[in-house]
């Protein structure tokens, strides 16, 4: 089943606008409030929603890897990737939402809508490139942006309770002089902490395709704009369904919570000169988990026969990626810093030693 939002005014396709946070019609300029629309859809569901779905679209074929959907705008048959839950028709560009991949077990509970538009994303990315000291000039100049795609990436957000008991041997070191002697006094302490910590909505990406490391670096998201999921938010963007369940990904969040808990306990031992953790027992219990779609702008670059991918947090604008490094610039910068350090060192030694040595 394909969901497409038609403008009630003129019948054209409507897409989500990151600027206004509403559904927008390009042809007549109508903005529609998504929360009101949702109510409208619920009415449909209680009434003839099934008929509405079967009337407007149908799924024709599906196997493990791809599925075919028919665009109700132009009638074209669209072959989609098995994970895609929202896309645009490759023939007429109409937004298509694949409802069967957003229902039942696959139904998201939360979403952070895009708040950075495509043109803002491009602009911000260009600025970021300008600041890259080690980016090759050829990369900066050439416009090899192959594609820029806004995608809702599936995440699990975990609410956790972490109970941790930590035993550590800590020292306080005190040095003083006593007559002819330098005295070092090391006091040993047996330190124990029992912490009961609650963490809210630690995100873990549930998409197979996305690089975990890059996804982690995109954090943090501002949960102030975390909304209940509603399909119109996806209109005009790409979206994917999760590949891993919350249980399958629990070890990843467990590892993080473990580290967080240890960090917290250690932060209460900052008055010691050294901390040596002898034993720890950390129990992590999930309290709640939310299947959530988070906005990501993806930039694909062609440079010297290799693809370079960058991601931008579609809410905050933070950029991560693996940029190409210019060897020439690295060498010049290295030489520059080394020379500067050398000169500074010389000046310092001149001040101290009174001689250019």
């Amino acid at each position: 089943m394909v969901i497409q939002y038609k403008c009630p005014n003129c019948g054209a396709d409507m897409a989500f606008s990151a600027e206004t946070g509403m559904l927008h019609c390009e042809s007549c300029g109508l903005d529609e409030n998504i929360e009101k629309m949702e109510r409208h859809q619920e009415q449909l569901e209680t009434g003839s929603y099934r008929d509405f779905i079967s009337e407007t679209s149908h799924q024709t074929y599906e196997d493990d890897s791809t599925a075919q959907y028919q665009c109700k705008n132009c009638g074209a048959i669209l072959i989609t990737d098995k994970d895609t839950s929202a896309t645009t028709c490759s023939f007429c560009d109409a937004p298509m939402i694949l409802g069967d991949r957003l229902s039942g077990d696959l139904s998201p509970s939360k979403i952070i809508p895009f708040s950075i538009t495509k043109s803002q994303a491009e602009e911000a990315f260009r600025k970021w490139c300008g600041k890259g000291l080690l980016l090759p000039n050829a990369f900066k100049k050439s416009n090899r942006l192959k594609s820029i795609t806004g995608m809702y990436v599936p995440f699990w957000l975990y609410d956790l309770n972490t109970r941790g008991e930590i035993h550590a041997e800590c020292t306080k070191v005190h040095t003083y002089t006593e007559g002819e002697y330098d005295v070092t006094e090391t006091k040993y302490f047996d330190v124990y902490r029992d912490v009961n910590l609650y963490y809210n909505k630690i995100p873990v990406d549930a998409s197979e395709k996305m690089d975990d490391d890059m996804m982690d670096k995109l954090e943090p998201y501002d949960y102030g704009n975390l909304q209940d999921f509603s399909t119109p938010y996806l209109s005009g963007y790409l979206a994917e369904k999760y590949n891993y369940t919350d249980e399958e990904l629990f070890p990843r969040v467990e590892k993080r919570a473990n580290q967080y808990c240890t960090d917290y306990a250690r932060s209460t031992m900052s008055s010691y000169s050294s901390v040596n953790i002898r034993h720890k027992n950390i129990q992590i219990r999930p309290e709640d988990v939310y299947y959530t779609l988070l906005p990501v702008w993806m930039f694909c670059y062609d440079y010297e026969h290799a693809e370079h991918n960058f991601m931008m947090n579609g809410q905050t604008g933070k950029i991560v990626g693996k940029p190409p490094i210019s060897p020439e610039k690295s060498i010049s910068l290295f030489a520059g810093i080394s020379i500067l350090t050398f000169i500074i060192l010389k000046v310092i030694m001149f001040i101290i030693g009174g001689v250019w040595v």
Binding site: L133, L134, A138, T177, E178, E180, Y181, D182, T184, E185, T186, K187, Y188, F189, D190, V191, Y192, R193, D194, V195, L197, Y198, Y199, N200, M214, D216, K217, E219, P220, Q259, Y260, D263, Y264, T268, V320, G321, P323, I325, E328, S330, I331, S332, L333, F334, A335, G336, I337, S338, I339, T341, F342, I343, L345, K346, M349, G353, G354, V355, W356, V357
Partner: protein, 278 residues
Amino acid sequence: MIKTQKHSIAKKGASLFLLVMVLVTFLPLSFIVKAATDESIERIYDYANTLSNSEKEDLEELAASYYQDTGNNYLIVTTTTREEYDYSHSSSPEEDCEFYSEAFYDSFLEKYGNSYNNCTILTIDLSPNRYADISGQGDLKYKLDDSRCKKVSVKISSSLTAKDYTEAYSKYMQLVNRYQKIKPGINPDNIFLKIWFQLLISVIIGGITIGVMIYHSGGKMTASGQTYLDRERSSLVRRHDHYIRTHTTRTKRESNSDSSSSGGGGSSSGGSHGGSHF
């Protein structure tokens, strides 16, 4: 086209790097202009005949050129008998050597006048005692304190043992000339005063900076436990900090008598002294 341009940029970078390094390293030497000497001052008194005539001439010339640059007289006196100058003898031959050096200095001043009072003296005692004493006089008494004198004497002792006198003497002049430029009280052999060490530090700092930049070029992790912590519900339930024991270590401090710039130890002599056997 693009390739060659890149290479020339890299080459430019590398050659600029070399140029600056060379400049900074050798700049201090560039204003040491060796002027022709028409001095008639004798600075080498080789009573023990350790040098040939031509070797002695070369060293005189070297000492004269140092005088041109610094106004300091780097003197050398060698003896087998310690009888060329009058001094009151003491119980130890080392002390005698210092007294001998002082007596030599007095005669040098008598001969050339007090305007030549900034001297260092290398006294080579080739009597069975085989002792090299280095002494600083005038301003050099402070610039070349006891510990620095001692350092120079240790550094030339292997050449003296090998009877390579020209090597030992020119090294002596070179060392005292280097040391007297460095502010008193600082160890002239401090590793931070070594060019290779300064270069190493510069290169390490440059390398680390670039390494960190490359490592962070793809963005860095900014979310931490604090980002997701629910502060209202979280708490430190129990804690204890039990004192167990104290471990104490005592190390004797190095005595700073080395850095003092007073006169020779125990002797009544006027200059600074330091020496070693060879």
